[in-house]
């Protein structure tokens, strides 16, 4: 029931906003829809925490500790982003960058995007997961090109083609998975792609086929995670689209993509009885971290800078899931949570800062602390949090990843440490003048919504200081489920 509300609300919202999205009150409607979605997610969470995993709608949907926390996180960031986007999009409209009709498209697609992510998270059917992931790409392509500038069209095209081709690989992987499953489960057809069924028979799945399937699935969903060498679409799509979209792409879509990879990994590892999937995840993860850190140095655009930082963090999470085991999985899950909260907060602050300066180039953004102290502090604290400064939550999760790496994969520790250090230098050197430099900027016509920024940062701070026991249990249960060597 809660699930029905959870999935139907954003769909109805998308339809309603498709009709009324150009009205003056549309942003409020957007917020209201997101709020209902979030409340449904909360109720669902409460129910799963109390009653254990949930299997509904002829087993097509499945809620377990692993995805329920992501559902809540997705709905929460969706809500705060809709709050942030209200003044942000008003300013964009005043600047003449979007028309009322495009705003309608924006609102409608925003809700559709939320739907696809929630479906991808809750579905039990690996085929539907694929469908939802592809739909998530499609619903955001037109959002990336919302401004219709040459650069944004290029970004949108790249996003579409790269993710389209990537996701086609994932479809082939899914076909192979189905092929192997049919052997083990018999040709009942419908049940052979259900994750819960696959999970019970994963020991009998043909290892040769599953190994091949995993390569395709990892490349496919890995493209959406933004794992290097397939990360090219990510910085462009983040930088050229409107900032609320950058925030949800970075904070949510990448999480959902990683979630799909991990779901596949659980199956394949159970079948292969080897460390191949883990080693592949660690390899891709580490490569992404290193590559992203190199590119961090060369950025001039504030949103591109943080987009590369997202690639870096996705690399860390992938690496941690690759190591596996209860501690590393716990750390990866915690890192997913705090990264998504922090990164969206940073994009909120950066978006307002860019609006103020009238440019996304970092050299044009100066002295936020004098012209608008709250944005300045938001950006500064967000950057410190994402760079892993204690006492923020990112520190806790990175610390866990590093200590586990020292024990399990000592060779990787220096690489990770150096990468984190270099990332610190690169980002801090750029954020510092933006916040503390000289400025002559004007105030924004609409008061920026900074509540989301500080709510997110406060949560990250709280998670760094203290993980409440029910949350810890929850992470532990999910970490248990993911398992690993």
């Amino acid at each position: 029931m809660e699930l029905l509300i959870l999935l139907l609300t954003p769909i109805c919202g998308a339809i309603l906003l498709g009709i009324f999205g150009a009205r003056r009150r549309a942003p409020e409607l957007n917020i209201a829809v997101s709020l209902v979605t979030f409340l449904a997610a909360c109720v669902l969470t409460a129910r799963v925490t109390a009653g254990g995993p949930l299997l509904v709608a002829r087993e097509q949907f499945f809620i377990d500790p692993f995805n329920v926390f992501l559902v809540t996180l997705t709905a929460f960031v969706g809500l705060t982003t809709s709050i942030f986007s209200r003044p942000y999009m008003r300013v964009e409209m005043d600047h003449g960058r979007v028309s009322a009709r495009r705003l309608r498209l924006y609102h409608s697609m925003y809700q559709l995007f939320m739907t696809t992510m929630l479906v991808a998270l809750t579905t039990n059917n690996m085929g539907l997961l694929w469908v939802a992931m592809e739909a998530a790409t499609l619903s955001t392509v037109l959002l990336v090109t919302l401004y219709r500038t040459p650069a944004s069209l290029e970004a949108g095209w790249k996003y579409f083609i790269l993710c389209g081709v990537g996701i086609a690989q994932a479809l082939f992987g899914t076909i192979l998975l189905y092929f192997a499953a049919e052997k083990a489960l018999g040709s009942e057809g419908v049940t052979a792609l259900l994750w819960t069924h696959l999970n019970t028979v994963k020991g009998q799945l043909e290892p040769a086929v599953l190994g091949l399937a995993f390569v395709f699935l990892l490349v496919g969903y890995g493209t959406k995670v933004g794992l290097a060498p397939l990360h090219n679409w990510l910085p462009d799509a983040h930088a050229e689209g409107p900032t609320p979209i950058s925030a949800v792409l970075s904070g949510l879509l990448l999480n959902v993509a990683i979630y799909s990879v991990v779901r596949c990994k659980i199956l394949v590892e159970g079948s292969l009885h080897s460390t191949l999937p883990s080693r592949m995840l660690m390899g891709f993860g580490l490569l992404s971290v290193v590559l992203a850190v190199f590119f961090l140095w060369r950025q001039r655009d504030i949103k591109r800078l943080f987009a590369y930082s997202s690639i870096e963090h996705m690399g860390i999470i992938t690496f941690a899931f690759g190591m596996g085991g209860p501690v590393a999985n716990f750390a990866a899950l915690l890192h997913m949570t705090v990264h998504s909260l922090t990164k969206s907060a940073i994009f909120f602050a950066a978006g307002h800062a860019a609006q103020k300066a009238g440019s996304q180039l970092m050299e044009n953004i100066r002295g936020l602390i004098t012209s608008n102290p709250t944005i300045g502090w938001g950006l500064m604290m967000g950057s410190l949090a994402i760079l892993g400064m204690p006492p923020f939550g990112v520190f806790a999760s990175e610390f866990l990843v590093l200590t586990t790496a020292m024990r399990e994969q000592p060779w990787a520790t220096p690489i990770l440490l150096i990468a984190l250090g270099v990332a610190f230098a690169a980002i801090f050197a750029r954020v510092q003048p933006m916040v503390f430099g000289e400025t002559s900027a004007r105030r924004l016509p609409h008061p920026p919504a900074l509540l989301p920024v500080f709510t997110h940062l406060a949560l990250v701070l709280a998670l760094g200081l203290y993980v409440p026991p029910y949350l810890a249990d929850w992470y532990r249960a999910a970490a248990q489920l993911i398992g690993g060597p």
Partner: protein, 235 residues
């Protein structure tokens, strides 16, 4: 040919023709013809699916066959033709690699695909297991088409042909995916093409051309002084 039933022979013929069509696409520069080739590929898929449905008695295959007919033979080619007419893109420019070169790469790709499909074919119990290699080849050849083309329209045709290859792969390895998934995939393809249609008009409006070399400004070149800054346009 003793011992192989006629319908299976026909199925194998369809598979071979599909591969041939992929090569034709690789060599074809006229975009209208490319779309026609895509439609023919869809028609072959339809025939192959009906044959397979008849052979195996799996009723859901009839449904997906007619889905293929409606979507890939009728609707998408019609939409693409309309787009071509509206946008007036008839020819692709010289591909990045000359055509004989692409063909040679294509040959290597086919050999590679059969190697890749070997373990799967060995395990498959379907009557069409030999076609799995061809399906992989079609997927990878479409990939080559996408890489070597410059026009957005030819890339889209490559993309759709890749989807055809995936469909054929699913069919020959497992007699098709569960119906709900097939519907979802069909829906996604449909939406993808609609989105692309909108997208083409946007590109066109902005650049007066559908040539993708306009879309090469977003490169990593920040250290160059002439790297164009992209200020937010305020008007």
């Amino acid at each position: 040919m003793v011992g192989i039933p006629l319908d299976l022979q026909l199925l194998n013929l369809c598979a071979a023709l599909l591969l041939l069509l992929s090569f034709a696409m690789l060599a074809q520069r006229r975009i209208v013809t490319l779309v026609n080739l895509l439609a023919t590929q869809g028609a072959l898929l339809f025939v192959a699916t009906v044959l397979l449905a008849w052979r195996t008695g799996e009723h859901h295959l009839y449904l997906s066959a007619f889905l293929t007919l409606a979507l890939k033979v009728v609707f998408l080619p019609w939409l693409l033709h309309r787009l071509i007419k509206r946008l007036q893109v008839y020819w692709d420019t010289e591909p990045l690699l000359n055509i004989p070169g692409t063909m040679l790469i294509g040959l290597l790709v086919v050999v590679f695909s059969f190697g890749l499909a070997q373990p799967i074919s060995a395990l498959a119990s379907t009557a069409t297991r030999n076609a799995i290699g061809i399906a992989v080849a079609v997927i990878l050849l479409s990939f080559v088409t996408m890489i070597t083309r410059r026009k957005a329209m030819s890339q889209v045709v490559g993309f759709l042909s890749m989807e055809n290859g995936l469909f054929f792969g699913a069919m020959s390895a497992t007699y098709g995916m569960p119906m709900i998934v097939e519907f979802g995939v069909a829906l996604d393809v449909l939406v993808a093409v609609l989105v692309l249609g909108i997208f083409f008009f946007q590109i066109r409006e902005q650049f007066d051309s559908l040539d993708l070399h306009h879309l090469e400004a977003l490169r990593e070149r920040p250290s160059e002084p002439d790297g164009q800054p992209r200020p937010i346009q305020e008007n």
